[in-house]
């Protein structure tokens, strides 16, 4: 199982075993990572599973769809590395991924 490291807004690191095929958002929620709200449950309608993903991972992730690009702009404190984690499927290639959680989703 690929390991994903979530860095919570207080700086705490949480290493989790992620399930291939599920979303990065699900990996966070199911492993008690704080700071991912996922209000809509993964339907791409709320922008509250927002997180930052280091650029060096960009080519290993599936690129954001047009709809994700619209919705990610609706999150708080958007940066160039912002993604919606419900839209990123976990693959073996993501082993070692580091995901930084923003200070607030609302």
């Amino acid at each position: 199982m690929p390991r994903i490291t979530f860095i919570e807004s207080n700086g705490e690191r949480k290493d989790v075993e992620a399930v291939v095929g599920e979303s990065v958002m699900r990996a966070a929620i199911d492993n008690g990572v704080d700071g991912i709200a996922a209000e809509c449950g993964g339907c791409l309608s709320c922008a509250t599973c927002h997180a930052y993903i280091a650029e060096e991972w960009a080519d290993k992730l599936s690129p954001p769809s047009e709809e994700e690009q619209v919705m990610v702009e609706c999150a708080i404190d958007v940066r160039p590395t912002s993604r919606l984690t419900c839209q990123i499927p976990v693959t073996e290639a993501l082993d070692g991924l580091v995901v930084e959680i923003p200070a607030s989703q609302y």
């Binding site: 449950g41 339907c43 309608s45 922008a47 989703q105 609302y106």
Partner: protein, 413 residues
């Protein structure tokens, strides 16, 4: 893509004859518009239905349809938006007199429409309007605080959501008086003709706003929606109008009643008030618990293919209503579900805003309105109670409602 406009609503008989595929032992006379015991508390009345009736049963009232009252089956319906289409969201089953995307559009096309409105209810959009919501709430509360009493519905809950909506849409705030009765009639009236007229009135109101933007475009949501595209096609005018009318009707009576029932709980339990007053940090968590305990909205579905739910055979064309708030009130969901308990572990499970692709787009806005209310209420109002000699006016319906709630407190000075 537009659908035909239905001019006249269908009037259903008091009782509809049981279709052949409905077993006689699954027929129960339960009327959402005249529910036994609802005037003493609709949630308690529905909880009794959940305890006493089968998970899925058929009522001959309001056109004849299935009711789903068990938590796990409610989730099953909400999460399968293809078998259970929202094209028949209201009972009795009368189509709206206008198309209402994204609600009446099934997946996979649904998401193309949903994305047109989601940004308007996103964290960023809500943050942008928060100062205004707060200022308005403070003005209302400070208006009645010195009096030592208020009628919370007309004085607060009926006003705040509509002002929030009008502000977000950049519509004149003075329009609220004219809009409120129509919004209430749509979800509360069992009379199809009245519902039909109220829907047309809201649609006419939105149509005027659209016509205004067509003449003078602005930097606002209405202009954005009428100029938007679905795929490569411009959104047809009637679809844009219908979508805006749906947003308008969806955000009014719902937040109002969620807030009203939550306040009734607090008025009856001073210890809950003390917690929120002394520990304002728990307010967001407390709101999840209040949402679980006091969900208000329940939408119906159209069964699109023969299927089975809780062992009951459903036929394509049947209508089925799932009671979203009964998921959070099911003993299988949380222990002691009828009790408001701010110490439940997070996340507090509930389906108050639904699930799946049709989940309420305004849930974050609704919670923000509750948060602002509680944060601004406690610094200004001392311990409050039901005003002696008054009785909260409650009832069931498509939206469980509380239409009058008198509160009293010891005014300073």
């Amino acid at each position: 893509m537009s659908q035909a406009v239905v001019r006249e609503p269908k009037v259903y008989p008091e009782f509809t004859e049981r279709p052949d595929h409905v077993p006689a032992e699954l027929v129960y006379d339960v009327d959402i518009y005249n529910l036994e015991g609802a005037k003493d508390g609709p949630h308690e009345a529905w909880k009794r239905v959940q305890q006493e009736k089968p998970p899925v049963f058929w009522t001959p009232r309001n056109g004849g349809y299935w009711m789903v009252v068990k938590g796990e089956n409610i989730l099953e319906v909400e999460n399968d938006a293809i078998t259970y289409s929202m094209r028949a969201a209201l009972v009795p089953n009368n189509p709206r007199p206008y198309p209402a995307p994204p609600m009446d559009i099934d997946p996979p096309d649904h998401s193309k429409w949903r994305i047109l409105i989601s940004p308007a209810f996103s964290p960023k959009a809500i943050q942008a309007s928060e100062d205004m919501v707060r200022k308005f709430a403070i003005d209302l509360i400070e208006g009645f605080a010195p009096k030592g009493e208020c009628e919370f519905v007309s004085g607060f809950t009926a006003v705040l959501p509509i002002v929030v909506f009008l502000t977000m849409m950049e519509l004149p705030l003075e329009d609220r008086e004219a809009l409120m009765p129509h919004a209430a009639a749509i979800v509360r009236s069992p009379d199809p003709t009245k519902i039909h007229q109220a829907r047309l009135a809201l649609k006419d109101y939105v149509e005027q706003a659209v016509a205004d933007r067509e003449r003078r475009p602005r930097e606002d949501l209405i202009t954005k929606i009428i100029n938007s595209k679905v795929g490569d096609e411009p959104v047809p005018r009637d679809m844009a109008v219908g979508m805006l009318a749906l947003l308008l009707s969806g955000g009014l009576d719902t937040v109002k009643n969620l807030m009203g029932f939550s306040c009734l709980s607090l008025a009856r339990r001073p210890e809950l008030q003390r917690r929120l007053r002394e520990e304002p940090k728990i307010i967001p968590h407390a709101i999840e618990e209040l949402c679980r305990r006091h969900g208000v909205s329940n939408t119906a579905r159209l069964v699109t293919r023969d299927t089975e739910l809780a062992g009951v055979r459903l036929k394509a064309g049947d209508q089925i209503q799932q009671f979203s708030f009964l998921y959070g009130l099911d003993d299988a969901t949380v222990p002691d579900p009828m009790k408001v308990d701010f110490d439940r572990p997070a996340p507090i499970p509930h389906a108050t805003f639904g699930n799946g692709p049709h989940r309420c787009p305004g849930s974050m806005l609704a919670k923000k309105e509750l948060q602002v209310w509680l944060e601004e209420w406690f610094p200004r109002i001392p311990e409050f109670r039901l005003k002696p000699g008054t009785r909260p006016q409650q009832d069931a319906g498509m939206v469980a409602n509380i239409s009058e709630l008198w509160l009293a407190w010891d005014a300073a000075g």
